[in-house]
Symmetry: C2
Subunit: 220 residues, 2 copies
């Protein structure tokens, strides 16, 4: 039984989950994006990997930029779902926030509720490439097309928890978007520029840092 994750339909021409070859584009595409990185990734190479042609892939995705946006959107869709599970049946707002921070800043783990196969790889792609997806001259158009709704609604709903806990705190959205972005940054630093951080792949400190900030900054 599969849970379907919402990905904005403006991101594709033809739904890749609706066909065999579409699913192959996704699974091989994730792999190739990770292996090559966004700049070296091409539809031609992907087509060779799935024994198909460029033209076929272009029928699903407008270009590789949209393909990346699709993957990132998918990731945030998974996180949305996991947030839902992590806060359901929890009445205390503090506890809801704690659980949410765990989901947003922690590492994927097959044991947690709502885990999906692709989450690990997608997270790697988000860490490595999401800056390139966002920081484009097209952001404003894409935002208008609702492409960042998944992400914005995550920030918005967790910020609501912050407001409930401490209505006097003046920067709820900033706090949450910061913690989310920071988690990804620090994980990147930990691998490539370890002197910029105090976390490491062996001993993860990102979640602890995030909890600490929340705890110190919010009064309740």
């Amino acid at each position: 039984m599969n849970i379907s994750i919402q990905v904005s339909a403006t991101l594709y021409h033809k739904d890749p989950t609706s066909s065999e070859i579409g699913l192959k584009i996704l699974s091989e595409g994730i792999q190739l994006m990770q292996d090559l990185g966004f700049e070296a990734f091409t539809f031609k190479k992907l087509a060779q990997n799935i024994q198909s042609t460029e033209a076929t892939i272009y029928r699903y995705f407008e270009n590789k930029h949209y393909f990346l946006l699709y993957l990132i959107n998918w990731y945030w869709g998974i996180i949305s779902y996991r947030l839902l599970l992590a806060t359901a049946n929890v009445t205390d707002a503090r506890q809801q926030l704690t659980n949410s921070i765990e989901v947003l800043t922690g590492l994927p783990d097959a044991s947690h509720p709502g885990y999906m196969e692709e989450e690990m790889q997608l997270k790697q792609i988000v860490i490595q490439e999401s800056g390139k997806a966002l920081h484009t001259k097209m952001v404003d158009d894409e935002n208008q097309n609702g492409i960042y709704l998944n992400y914005k609604s995550i920030v918005s709903s967790v910020a609501e928890l912050v407001k409930t806990i401490d209505p006097s705190f003046p920067y709820p959205e900033m706090l949450i978007s910061n913690l989310i972005e920071n988690a990804n940054h620090q994980r990147f630093f930990s691998v490539h520029l370890p002197r910029l951080t105090n976390t490491s792949p062996e001993q993860d400190a990102v979640v602890a840092f995030s909890h600490l900030i929340i705890q110190k900054v919010l009064q309740s």
Copy 2:
């Protein structure tokens, strides 16, 4: 009287500050990078803008990726210098940290000491494009070549202040690199995705947020 800002020599073939045309490459290049964004920026277009040829620009810079790295490095060189000025003759570590946070997360202003013409434009480029410079398959090589030394030494020296003020705080580097990155992110959000933040171009809250975090998190 000009203060010379250090930019790592591994970033260029020929020092662009050593000739008329090199300086034109820099000044017009900054402008064009801002106008077009990294992906649409090409050496051909830049060559046309300065009435020269691609070949000439390639004699200064290996490619546009290195050109961007050069600009970012230049920016951090300016910030390094401003940090120096902002902490000189200040004896109290707390005050030094406060001043440093101001420099790192505040907006360029012609009135502050050490201000340079290019700072404003360079900061815009850092906000928009620095993710693309860093999140590359070449980070590790570039790091080995000392390309991030400016940035790393900034984080390191400000983190030292944190350690002086609160030796028990376990994440000094993470705290500082977070505040630096966050400032740029939030400024990007404020323009393009305002619902993710609580700052706006009209009413800047980034510095206040940063001070708040420092104040709440460090014990002294």
